[in-house]
Assembly symmetry: C2
Homo-oligomer: 140 residues x 2
Amino acid sequence: MKELFISTLVGQVRALDQFGTWTNRTDEDILKEKYVKTKEDLKNIPVIADIDEMQIQDIRLIYQSIALAFETKTGIMCSVVMEMSHEGFGRVVVIADKIVIVNKFFKDAHRHSFRTYEKLEEEGEKMLKSVMEIYEEYKK
Amino acid sequence: MKELFISTLVGQVRALDQFGTWTNRTDEDILKEKYVKTKEDLKNIPVIADIDEMQIQDIRLIYQSIALAFETKTGIMCSVVMEMSHEGFGRVVVIADKIVIVNKFFKDAHRHSFRTYEKLEEEGEKMLKSVMEIYEEYKK
């Protein structure tokens, strides 16, 4: 049984696979391709570079999945608002009702990634735990 | 003595007047040019059209002024996150600490305007009052 964050993220990513390109690939394989970059990979990505729409979308999906997983757990609607410059500077907030449950800044967003698949899983669950705590603290 | 919202907005708009184009024009005159469109004016703006960066910036300044005016009143830092598609669909949130004090959706943002200068003043003060109330309700 997969953790909620990962299964939501897989669902989101697969939902965008309009042409069935990923049908025969495993979930882990797809998420690795999108989100995992080793130190070695990062060496080949310039520090200063433009970010493309696809990468912005991929980052957005992570927060969209946090929002959806939070909805699944609590039944409370949330939404993602993201601002990203073409240089990869940006910000994302996830809001539930009147509460900001995620507020994250980016720089070098074109390098945004996780070192291993396990790290992605772990970070996602950690974020999900934190949003629940914040919501509990601030909710009316 | 001008109301806080209007004086903040004037400050923001004038701060962007790099080349001194507006130095000899009154505050009211400048804000009217940017934000006031009569019904007659609106008739000449197509319902479906693209929004340009300048207009997006102008709308942003309104919320930036709400954020700044709130900071002036309370000493609490806030920030604006805005997402706007080129078709003029979008969303803006203003957040103070972990609280969403403004959450507004746009459609036809290229037509975003106020009918009179007085209306702009009034709406701004109303928004400022509402953000104070929301903050008071949710703050820890």
